[in-house]
Symmetry: C2
Subunit: 136 residues, 2 copies
Amino acid sequence: MRKTKFILVLLTFTALAGFKSDQNKPSIEAGLFKISVMYPGGQGKTFDMDYYEKSHMPMMAGFLGKNLKFYEIDKGLSGRTPNDEPPFVAACAFYCYNVADYNQAVGKNIDTILKDIKKYTNIQPVIFISEIKQVK
Amino acid sequence: MRKTKFILVLLTFTALAGFKSDQNKPSIEAGLFKISVMYPGGQGKTFDMDYYEKSHMPMMAGFLGKNLKFYEIDKGLSGRTPNDEPPFVAACAFYCYNVADYNQAVGKNIDTILKDIKKYTNIQPVIFISEIKQVK
């Protein structure tokens, strides 16, 4: 009996460990909504990636709460060919369960958000809200 | 001894099952490269999502091979506010391990790709290559 119990405990632990590692990996799936915020570069345009990563985005995640599955921060590398300038110097994507809740959370905190944006960039971002149709 | 073997087999199976479910969920991580292809809408612009999902994207995945971790297809919903037209009617993102290999694969098959694009759209897409800096 003792052995059986030990085994059951071990199995449960293994299953839980597997479950946890699954949860920790942000995964994309169809049906999620994606809010892409993309910052076009150009003469005189500035973007402080450090502030964006360490302050702005965590603040945004706090505003979005449980509606946010995860977010992704991107650094622009190039356009169509390796020699083309990237259309955006930086970008982010919020993967959310619900668009209405996203809009509500942003609307509620818009003054704080706009004030904070000035701390890291002088760029007017392009905002693209989309539905994830397929992931393969 | 028999029991111990049985348990080991069971544990191995559990571990493998956990590993498999992890592998099947496309997950994003820092260090990956993302090739975003975004199709701006407008008067007279057309986009056949069905052909894109069923023919074009699987063909692209074949060209990219193991360098492609996964791809995502997006349908444009809106811009900054729910009433703004989306800047893009559709978009996709290829999540790859290596940009040089992506460029090489596309270069090698560019004639086939350009010919196939005409089958689903008359839009000239915006291409944005970026590095994923952070996922949270």
